[in-house]
């Protein structure tokens, strides 16, 4: 366990190690995954500034994850994010390093996943209340456990289990209803 009081404590190295994990937490917490990178950046900056408040009573990645979740909540509310999103809609051209332009074409790393199905699940998950959605997505993060989620969200473990259960149940019902509607059509 890393503690701020230890003389060898190197925040930069520790943050670099935590970064992939934090990105997953940000993706699970943010409404739009496009914002995840910004959220992690801001959370790391806040963590660096407030490292004196880290008491070492939990792993650093859990402490940083708590900051990520709070930043994700505030990020969604911020006017700056809305302005950026508005500009992003008009952003159909991309500029290469040499200054030439080409049409917007995001890289698709998800060809192995049935895209329509994933988009459908994405829509249904987005409709879940944040208090159900965030624990459900966090549980999908590699190596994440219920006690860790409870620690990050600062809620009891029983509450995490209950919220994950209701999220699964609602998602199951929503996907079943949709399947039935599409069959009727």
């Amino acid at each position: 366990m890393l503690a701020a009081s230890e003389p060898q404590f190197d925040f930069e190295t520790a943050a670099r190690d935590c970064r992939p994990f934090l990105l997953q937490i940000a993706v699970a917490s943010a409404r739009n995954p496009v914002d995840a990178e910004d959220i992690v950046q801001e959370a790391l900056l806040r963590g660096y500034r407030g490292i004196q408040r880290f008491r070492g009573d939990c792993p650093l990645r859990i402490w940083l994850s708590r900051i990520v979740v709070r930043v994700a909540i505030n990020h969604h509310r911020s006017a700056a994010r809305r302005l950026k999103r508005w500009v992003f809609f008009g952003d159909v051209e991309m500029e290469r390093e040499d200054g030439s332009h080409h049409e917007f074409d995001p890289p698709d790393h998800s060809r192995s996943i049935p895209r329509e199905r994933i988009m459908d699940v994405d829509r249904q998950v987005s409709r879940l209340p944040a208090e159900f959605k965030v624990p459900l997505l966090m549980l999908a993060v590699d190596g994440m456990t219920i006690p860790e989620i409870a620690d990050i969200l600062e809620i009891p473990q029983g509450t995490v289990k209950s919220r994950v259960f209701y999220a699964r149940k609602r998602l199951k019902s929503a996907l079943e209803n949709r399947l039935e509607r599409s069959k009727k059509q």
Binding site: M94, A130, A140, R168, K172, L175
Partner: protein, 285 residues
């Protein structure tokens, strides 16, 4: 005890939340072997997990794509729009300030206008006239300094306010209903009462490991967690906190009824003993 489909549907949450005891689990396992409907229900809920996993991977690819995308021309557009917006806002403030001026939008009299006035007396008047607007023009300059950022004010607590409504540090709203089935010990403290926070911390260390007890330190919205305090914090959301004043505590039973009130100040050992007796009585094991 007999486990049938109705019992299983009622206790489905307990099954997924690992709240069933060993005997109940065995009975459920036996029931699932024979009941196709319940087995399908369980499987359907479990099938959600791989989909969520795939969704997280999909969202990760989107996040990574956004992070590694080449520089967008839209950002430049955004920057220009931002500059334009700032300039437009400043111009709007200026126009607003001028039109709101009760003395009217009169500015300094131009020099050529004073030169047109011909008599000595009117020269003197012109000097007076031109002097007044000059000083006025100086006072009309709007204050362009950034407004002082003030903390968000605490919501006013009226008689119509809810009895208990707080937010946890993650931003989720919690009401008394969320703690139903648990004995709830609420300590109310504020930033200028560190001894109240220390009392709550002592109570948390004494009773925090009891499964059926929940402890909450409720405070105002703008208060930060003091160093060394590990008790679960919650921020009052404009509720009356069950009519509990700062530096006091309240014990709520599993049905949501207030069973005990008191002050967090005073002898900590006596306070702990008193609360322990009440928690034992209420079944907060």
């Amino acid at each position: 005890m007999k486990v049938d489909c109705q019992w299983f549907n009622t206790n489905l949450e307990a099954y997924f939340c690992d709240s069933l005891d060993a005997q109940q689990l065995q009975l459920v396992a036996d029931h699932l072997k024979t009941c196709l409907s319940c087995r399908s229900e369980v499987q359907a809920i479990r099938d959600v997990d791989p989909m969520v996993k795939q969704l997280l991977e999909y969202r990760m690819t989107r996040a990574m794509a956004a992070a590694h995308a080449p520089r967008r021309s839209g950002r430049r557009i955004g920057f220009q729009l931002g500059l334009f917006g700032t300039a437009a806002a400043l111009a709007g403030i200026l126009v607003f300030a001028v039109f709101l001026n009760p003395r009217g939008p009169a500015g300094p009299v131009p020099a050529n206008q004073t030169a047109l006035q011909d008599t000595a007396a009117s020269d003197a008047d012109a000097k007076t006239d031109s002097a007044v607007p000059t000083t006025r023009a100086k006072t009309d300059v709007p204050d362009l300094k950034a407004p002082e950022i003030k903390p968000v004010p605490e919501p006013a607590i009226t008689d119509n306010a809810p009895a208990f409504l707080v937010s946890d540090p993650a931003g989720y709203t919690r009401s008394l209903e969320d703690f139903r089935g648990h004995v709830l010990l609420i300590g109310v403290w504020s930033a200028d009462q560190p001894e109240a926070a220390q009392s709550i911390q002592r109570l948390y260390q004494a009773f925090g490991n009891r499964k059926e007890v929940r402890i909450l330190g409720v405070t105002g919205r703008n208060v930060e967690r003091p160093v060394g305090m590990t008790f679960p914090m919650a921020f009052n959301n404009g509720s009356r906190i069950l009519e509990t004043r700062s530096s006091n505590f309240v014990v709520v039973d599993k049905e949501g009824n207030v069973q005990m009130r008191g002050s967090l100040a005073g002898d900590s050992n006596a306070l702990t003993t008193k609360i322990r007796a009440k928690l034992d009585e209420l079944g907060g094991k």
